[in-house]
Amino acid sequence: MYDINRAERAVTQQDIKISASKVQVYYGDKHAIKDVDVEILDKTVTAFIGPSGCGKSTFLRCINRMNDTIPIARIEGRILLDGEDVYDRRVDPVQLRAKVGMVFQKPNPFPKSIYDNVAYGPRIHGLSRNKAELDEIVEKSLRGAALWNEVKDRLHEPGTGLSGGQQQRLCIARAVATAPEVLLMDEPCSALDPIATSQVEELIDQLRENFSVVIVTHSMQQAARVSQKTAFFHLGNLVEYGSTDDIFTNPQDSRTESYISGRIG
């Protein structure tokens, strides 16, 4: 259904949303990310690929400061979101995370109703003045996550009762509901079957209209299908970054070539 040609569509906008320079991450003594410079565009799907343990998830988690929860993690360098350093001392990570939503590898809905799952973010950020507005946000988010038609009659049933693919789309709806500007996805399809995967991929393509989407994936086919830009990480280094088309058809670095042709990984 989705072949490699999909990525050839023109990148519509070229505004830089996130700009990282000289980012270093240490876990204790381990130097996990080395000197990463990357510029992520608005309204674009950017894929991070690379073998396991190459630091792509670590880098993703730096963007919304989820690494703050790991006591031994230490970050150097600058990550600018719309020109503002997210590691500035004045930045409250909670405020940042409302702007930079995140979807995790394993679907992790709250053990609450579907409605409450989606409404949680808007509630704690005060995005709605009344119940009607909240209902509207929930419906819009669920529609945005292509889940509305499946769950509209059972909004008050527990979110944990959905199937894996539905749960992941619920998590996407939950992330979308807080009206973020960037959506980070950490291997969102790795726990899903092929049908659910294709649904989520289709969704990611739609989300591109409103957000800058950054997706970490193990599947090169998936990166080719959904992304416009691709970054290849290897052993903590950003080896190559460019348009998905170039990376997959005309890689500049020998390591990239080896990886996408399946020789390392």
Binding site: N64, M66, T69, P71, V94, Q95, R97, A98, G101, M102, V103, F104, K106, N108, P109, F110, P111, Y120, G121, I124, H125, T160, C171, R174, A175, A177, T178
Partner: protein, 449 residues
């Protein structure tokens, strides 16, 4: 037991699935043996439990039944109200001794009226048929109803502990013959009165509601003050240990930085859980009574000591419950922009609730059955007065159920052994109810993810 024996030569594998080879047989036999050991272990545990419960119930069931003598008592106005104005304030000057005389007369009259003739029955046998507590009972009744003076009222009088024990099988004619406190004639009289229906044995509410009684009157002793004392202490523990324990564990588990200080605190909390309870009693004596100057025998002190004792249990179980909440839930909450506090209170704590509640109730149950520290802070005292309603009552002297049990087992009269077992039954019922509550709450709050 599950070692894989290494044989030097590989055994040939049997080709048929229908016959077991030697190795499979051996493994199956090991498994069967292990299962048998398990069944034996459970059997031993169950047998111990059954023996414990039967011995307690057979000893203690008697405490819940009590014999009463129902006789008409002529309340002689001249003895009980010498001034004749029925004023309870003035009547209270009349001592229990005078009421005893009134009762003696009533019993003698009742026995004479019943027409029972027993050879060798002395007048002291007759008057000792009733409890020494009976005169105090009658006095309380008359002071509460002064208008009845001068009339003849039907009154249920407690029977002497030996006679009561005779109907419960504790005292026999043979033992009575050797006993200075009773005689076979007295027991025969009791038998005859029972046949006439004047002496009845019925359920003993007074055991639940009465305070302790002195050595000579086991028939009047009850666990009322002990139940209230224990309840007050549980209140103190609940209101102090639960918030402090839960707050401490949330901080340690979720907020505290990992450094030498928190490691040290962690180790010491685990150590505290293993400190013998009597040490907490000495601490309570030194800190709360001698230093702070709180009263002895008071539930507030007992509650504080038990709080200290329960805290480690609550902290350890709460931390375990918090730890068992999957980290993905925290990530999810942080990912949508919840603050740390919001993620804990909205998501982690509700999921940890069943574990926290179970740990708390187990801690409370442990505190309810604790005796040693209470002995040291004076709760072993003989308390007849009911403490006032809380909060003032927390400072009044009271007893506690396990201490009451200890107290009664120290007394000479075998009737107190029965009372002690009865108090154990009451204590076990409370513990059983608490565990039931723990199971219920666990089911109620349990959520799947």
């Amino acid at each position: 037991m599950t070692d894989i024996p290494m044989s030097s030569e590989a055994q040939p594998r049997s080709n048929s699935l229908l016959s077991q080879d030697a190795r499979t047989r051996k493994r199956n036999a090991t498994e069967k043996r292990f299962r048998m050991y398990g069944v034996i272990a459970i059997g031993i545990a169950m047998a111990a439990l059954v023996i414990l419960l039967t011995s307690i119930v057979s000893d203690g069931a008697g405490a819940f039944r009590q014999s009463y003598l129902s006789i008409p008592v002529a309340l002689d106005a001249e003895t009980l109200d010498p001034n004749g104005n029925r004023d309870p304030a003035e009547m209270s000057k009349v001592l229990t001794l005078s009421y005893g005389k009134v009762l003696d007369k009533a019993v003698e009259t009742a026995v004479a009226d019943s027409g029972i003739a027993i050879e060798g029955l002395t007048s002291s046998d007759t008057s000792n048929l009733i409890s020494k507590e009976a005169s105090a009972q009658l006095r309380n009744h008359v002071l509460a109803n002064p208008e009845q003076v001068g009339q003849t009222v039907d009154f249920n009088v407690l029977v002497n502990g030996r006679v009561d024990g005779y109907f419960k099988g504790r005292v026999s004619m043979e033992s009575a013959a050797r006993d200075a406190n009773t005689s076979p004639q007295q027991l025969q009289l009791a038998d005859a009165l029972k046949e006439q229906g004047e002496l009845v044995t019925r359920f003993n509410w007074n055991f639940i509601t009465n305070p302790d009684a002195s050595d000579q009157r086991p028939e009047a002793a009850g666990v009322g003050v002990a139940i209230i004392g224990s309840a007050y202490m549980m209140l103190v523990v609940l209101f102090l240990a639960v918030p402090i324990g839960v707050a401490a564990s949330i901080y340690l588990e979720e907020f505290a930085p990992q450094n030498r200080w928190t490691d040290m605190i962690e180790v010491n909390i685990s150590n505290l859980a293993a400190v013998p309870s009597i040490v907490f009693g000495i601490l309570g004596l030194a800190a709360f009574i001698n230093f702070v100057g709180l009263p002895q025998s008071a539930p507030i002190v007992g509650g504080l000591v038990l709080t200290l004792m329960t805290l480690p249990t609550i902290i350890i179980s709460t931390r375990a419950a918090l730890k068992s909440v999957p980290p993905s839930i925290r990530d999810a909450a942080l990912g949508v922009g919840a603050s740390k506090m919001q993620s804990i209170f909205h998501h982690v704590l509700p999921l940890a609730m069943p574990g926290i509640l179970t740990g708390t109730i187990i801690g409370l149950a442990q505190a309810l059955g604790e005796t040693a520290p209470l002995l040291l802070i004076g709760m072993v005292a003989f308390v007849r007065e009911f403490p006032a309603a809380p909060p003032e009552g927390l400072w009044d002297p009271a007893s506690a159920l396990p201490v009451q049990v200890y107290n009664w087992t120290q007394r000479a009269d075998p009737a107190f052994i029965e009372r002690a077992s009865g108090a154990i039954i009451v204590l076990l019922i409370f513990l059983f109810c608490m565990n039931l509550l723990a199971i219920f709450l666990r089911r109620r709050f349990e959520r799947r993810w």
